[in-house]
Symmetry: C2
DNA sequence: CCATTTATGGATCGATCGTTCCAGAAATGG
DNA sequence: CCATTTCTGGAACGATCGATCCATAAATGG
């Protein structure tokens, strides 16, 4: 996962993968089939771990709005770090593989939808809690947040500092509160 | 440019490039040096053409706010098209090359800054025209718009339809008007 | 029209790509 | 402890990568 995350699908060579996993070629191909299937397994685990983690965070948060605020602000504060240039594996794969019609690219699209679904949950709860007007379009707000996070990730990947990413994320959150 | 745009830097093979350009290997290497320098030239031309086109559009627009509205709405309406899955070469290269320290990656970062600078112009004019409150932070709004366009591009690359992209872009513009 | 420069086609380079194969080592189970 | 299965190291596969080289063709200029 680390290798695919840092280098993308095409640029990650089987050499890199073997070295990082501490496996022999035979083991990799016997266990995972080939590079694409290994990548699919990585995407599957990444999405599951991400959605689970965010779902738990949302559930444990004092309010859905507090969850969204902390999520976007913490992400913006990654500015300048090596973590920031890596971005999110889901957005990365969606960007790299958008032109292809392969299982990984389909998986990436589904993962984007899963992120939007999670934001949908958060927005709906924030509306129930009175932090977002209940008459606002929940679907639209969910897509808006996915778009915002994807854009924030691109901003961070391109080397934006906290002085750019922070206020931009704040304005994004302002758009929720209306 | 078409080849790099559609396939990215690494995945674009010299074979693809030669075929698209109608040149022989000798001519390509004699004229452009190597693949990286050719890519740099492509990035340079793309940025120049994009910034020039948008600058002229901004200048010709009845108001800066009208320019921003049409830009984001037209982009959102590309949903589902082949053009949408290609995205923007600047965001694409920034995403693909963020981990590297090469001339193309530096160029991509500078291009991101150029986009933000253009949005800065637009926001400043919209403030002068009374469509955006003059006391709002122009820098922050410019970064916000770059983030929004990058996110919108990612949304479109991942196959979002107009029903998702359109309202998300509308909400983004609402954030300008406050 | 000839001398000089410039462009081209194609063979070829070493390196690396993802993948397969097989002999031998390790683990397993009765 | 032996028979059987499972795993591993390393060689090797064909294909493709970016890049170089050279003989030849085309263009140029006096």
């Amino acid at each position: 996962m680390q290798v695919f995350w840092a280098r993308g699908y095409d640029s990650a060579s089987t050499r890199d993968l073997l070295e990082a996993m501490g496996l022999s070629r035979s083991s990799l191909y016997q266990t995972f089939g080939n590079k694409e299937q290994l990548y699919l397994e990585v995407l599957r685990r990444y999405r599951e771990a991400l959605i689970d983690r965010l779902s738990r965070r949302l559930e444990a948060a004092p309010s859905a709005m507090a969850f969204l605020e902390s999520l976007f602000c913490e992400t913006a504060n990654e500015a300048g770090s090596e973590r920031a240039t890596r971005g999110c594996l889901i957005f990365n794969s969606a960007s790299e593989l958008s032109q292809r019609d392969t299982l990984p690219s389909q998986h990436a699209r589904q993962s984007m939808a899963a992120i939007t679904a999670l934001f949908h949950q958060a927005v709906a709860r924030a509306q129930a809690e009175g932090d977002i007007a209940p008459d606002r379009n929940t679907d639209a707000l969910a897509s808006y947040l996915t778009m915002g996070m994807a854009g924030l990730r691109t901003l961070l990947k391109s080397g934006a500092d906290a002085g750019q990413a922070g206020p931009a994320a704040e304005l994004l959150l302002d758009g929720l509160r209306h």
